[in-house]
């Protein structure tokens, strides 16, 4: 089963990457065009998200009838319902970075294969940011402040 799970993940990643390329979302200028409500607003991202949410919602409705995933033993769907400062603060920081660059993690990682140097710079900084969060989260857990609920 393991090779099948790994192969399936490769195929699904490729599908995601192809979808990103087709959607135009690898282009930071179009993403920033969506965020630029005061300028020449570009609604592309609404169509991308609309298509993606609709199809994955159908998938989710199907999943709800399954007792377990097709290739795995159990589901790992978040059950946390707490809306707190880490969720809002983290999302706000992400939004600022997204607005500055026009890149979010999916398109940036996919675009690494274009060989564009600015993309590699962005992804390297993103990995540093993720590593910094690991250190930060461990510190917070040690002091008991803002301990994350899994």
């Amino acid at each position: 089963m393991a090779p099948l799970r790994i192969l399936a993940a490769l195929g699904l990643g490729l599908m995601f990457g192809l979808g990103l390329a087709l959607s135009g979302m690898l282009d930071p200028a179009r993403v920033r065009g969506f965020l630029d409500v005061g300028g020449a607003w570009d609604p592309s991202l609404v169509f991308v998200l609309g298509g993606a949410v609709t199809v994955s919602a159908l998938g989710y409705q199907f999943v709800r009838r399954l007792s377990k995933p097709a290739l795995a033993e159990s589901f790992e769907i978040p059950t946390n319902r707490r809306i707190d400062e880490t969720l809002i603060g983290g999302s706000a920081l992400f939004g600022v970075g997204w607005g500055l660059s026009g890149f979010c993690p999916g398109p940036a990682v996919a675009a690494l294969s274009t060989g564009a140097l600015p993309v590699a710079v962005f992804v390297a900084a993103m990995l540093v940011g993720m590593a910094a969060h690991r250190v930060f989260a461990r510190r917070m857990a040690d002091t008991g402040i803002g301990a994350r609920i899994p």
């Binding site: 490729l14 200028a29 409500v37 298509g51 993606a52 998938g59 989710y60 880490t86 999916g106 540093v128």
Partner: protein, 138 residues
């Protein structure tokens, strides 16, 4: 073809990938979580994360092979801005437990209240940032 049709079709492919990841692996295909998992996951899970990320990177060359042209990419931000933005995106998506795919696609599809709040927050923050950059440049 109108660019919006391509956006809708591309979005549907992304949704198919996210939906199938739930059906097959029982997991949320959130790119920030999968990329962070490369550093923390062990064993087979790490291979699954790596395979998805490798597939993701194969997307643009596959698109170029099928369509005959690489997807358009216009990067206007300078290198220092890209570094600051990358740090914010990396730290922020981990603190907020997700990005445009995990919260934006999978979370909205599940009507998760946390994801709805997250999407509203990062879209608002992104719009505000672009507006402020525009103001500062004027």
């Amino acid at each position: 073809m109108s660019p919006y049709w391509a956006s809708l079709a591309g979005g549907a492919l992304i949704g198919l990938s996210v939906g199938a990841m739930l059906i097959f692996h029982g997991r949320i295909a959130g790119v920030s979580g999968l990329v962070a998992g490369l550093g923390t996951d062990r064993g087979e899970r790490r291979w699954v994360d790596s395979a998805f990320v490798a597939g993701l990177m194969l997307g643009p060359p596959a698109f170029a092979g099928l369509s005959g042209a690489w997807p358009e990419m216009r990067i206007v931000a300078s290198v220092p801005v890209l570094i600051v933005a990358g740090l914010l995106v990396g730290f922020g998506t981990r603190l907020g437990s997700g990005c445009t795919s995990g919260h934006g696609v999978a979370g909205l599809a599940r009507l998760s209240p946390r994801s709805i709040v997250a999407v509203f927050t990062f879209v608002a923050a992104g719009m505000l940032t672009v507006a402020l950059v525009r103001l500062a440049a004027a």
